[in-house]
Symmetry: C2
Subunit: 191 residues, 2 copies
Amino acid sequence: MQGIEEILRRQIEKIVELTDDEFHFILSHFTIKSFKKHQYVVQAGNPTLNDHFVVKGLLRSFYLDEAGKSHILQFAMEDWWISDPQAYHNGGNATLNIDCLEDTQVYMITLENREKLCAELRKMEFFFRKKTQAGYIALQKRIQSLMSQTAKERYDQFLHLYPQLSQRVPKTLIASYLGISRETLSRMAEH
Amino acid sequence: MQGIEEILRRQIEKIVELTDDEFHFILSHFTIKSFKKHQYVVQAGNPTLNDHFVVKGLLRSFYLDEAGKSHILQFAMEDWWISDPQAYHNGGNATLNIDCLEDTQVYMITLENREKLCAELRKMEFFFRKKTQAGYIALQKRIQSLMSQTAKERYDQFLHLYPQLSQRVPKTLIASYLGISRETLSRMAEH
């Protein structure tokens, strides 16, 4: 188990330093869970009780539009977080689905435990504030990309930002994430 | 001055309750500044030293793509925050422009003062964590809207979410925010 604990510890220690006692206290607020490839972690229409920190594997979050077409919002591999943030933070049922593209292992934390942890350990309130801030900036860049980049520019940026993901994620799914057709992406990937 | 102080206090007290002393301590970390219609608050290529909380007026943030076309990322009216988050939080020069669509008055806070305030007053760390979380969720909805909604659906959602903005912002600018042409928006607005 030490390997996966270290992945969580390194993630937090990129932002705040921890003593061993502090880390074990933090860890006691998480539970670990394994999922098989294709298994659902969150399903639209059900509550989203947990935020998920990936220690092994690969997931995606996606939703169906009114015409029943699927759109990928996010991928998450080792060292990334994934959830349906609206349902997790505000309650109500998930509108997103999250499933596993590979066999996956995650540390899960309920909102209650997250808030308790933030209240009990100031460093963790700082950590989550800074993580959310970085996430906000990343989403704003994604909006700019959707608003003003061509399909080719989006694809090149994806390869540049996420070289590992582009090796592990099937092209059909990258196309869905980028909002372009599979055929367009195939043509670009050949050149 | 009491009126505008109250706008800031109510904004914070939606999330945490404050004593008078706490609020005056918080206020001492902000400076107030007035801008005329058309004046720039942030200019691409220059540092973004402040986050801005609007107490009067209306602003927009926008950027120019490589072809020189302008895209609006955000509007902000009374009780909203606006900045170039990447430049403000991570340093470096702004890539966004922020200018005033009306005569405007803002409370400004530097990153240094914001971090000091968070360290000094736990309630403010909680406040900024929750505000950023809510902002993250709003941006994720905007991404979903850009990925899967038609121009008409986006326009209707804008009218529904921001009835006040749609009265105050010229249609050309709403079209730029929604990523649709002025002509398309005019046709929709007639019906």
